[in-house]
Symmetry: C2
Amino acid sequence: MPQTTPLIDLTPDQQIRLDRQMEFLREMDKLKSVLRGTKLINKSRRENSAEHSWHIMLYAAVLAEHAGPDVDIARVLRMLLIHDIVEIDAGDAPIHGHVDHAAMELKEAAAADRLFNLLPADQARAFRALWDEFEAAKTPDAQFAKAIDRTQPPVGNLHSGGGSWIEYNVTMDQIDTRVGVPINRGAPVLWAWLHPLLSNFFAKR
Amino acid sequence: MPQTTPLIDLTPDQQIRLDRQMEFLREMDKLKSVLRGTKLINKSRRENSAEHSWHIMLYAAVLAEHAGPDVDIARVLRMLLIHDIVEIDAGDAPIHGHVDHAAMELKEAAAADRLFNLLPADQARAFRALWDEFEAAKTPDAQFAKAIDRTQPPVGNLHSGGGSWIEYNVTMDQIDTRVGVPINRGAPVLWAWLHPLLSNFFAKR
Ligand SMILES: [Ca+2]
């Protein structure tokens, strides 16, 4: 029987850290079962928050040239990687749904407390700080990350005849407020591309 | 009617680049419909390649401290982000299934030609070079990325009573060759953690 014998022995500290890290990573599997308001472009089913996170990281990598000069794309990618994990406990709040935002914030903070603390303490702090920065949307990195998070659903909806806009009866006014404001703030080039397509789509409805 | 007027006008070059970038990003939605051999830990359904890509990026970020000193995690994340997109055309080849590897390589190269070339030429070249590097598995970044790609399924399977190992009738010998070799090469610390758990699991079968 061939044996791929480990090349090294773990230190006790490595063993403890890996046990915690792997427990966190296993728990993260649950994000694949959190469903969003949006559907896949082929309309076969709702999108889940794990595949959405992958997709917007690809958006950020491909659209990096349209970020401001003070944006660090590697940090943006790390932010987007973890931006939705609180939904494992708190669920997704559809952008066009009716949500009690204060209650949702409390739920998400409790989720962040539980989930990030599955990690070793130093990593829990670092990941939590990155998530807090994303949520606060004050830094250039966070504002670009938020803009990217808002860009993917309309690009898909425009391609699939309206998608979740039809279901939620969305107007151009609402798109302006909920999508246009954050994209225009974090990535004005993307809003300049998206705005005429959206205006045209909603003018025809 | 409130209007979030774009703050800038696009240059003709920006317009052309964004049209292509957005077409590529829309096409990528299809990776969410490529199903893998593995199931979610809760066994509710098969995992798709988009959410798998997200999950292994999280593995890479959390387990970065266990990489060698010459590994650049930001590059590893970019590699993992795109490592599976050829499956949109070529499909997933389950690691424990029976696959004609030469035929699969041709299919994947054709897929890479079509898909990456949806992007502006400079980006098509850069993304393709990164994917080629991952596939060749010669650099420290690619070897760590491959090790991470091989680590996630067994961690899940160990937690769900065997998962795809049962379905594919996998033995410890096969795990040693297909999983142990690449993990031991790219991330020996992870194999030192995983090996005793796997030995124990397969000894009991
Ligand atoms: Ca893979």
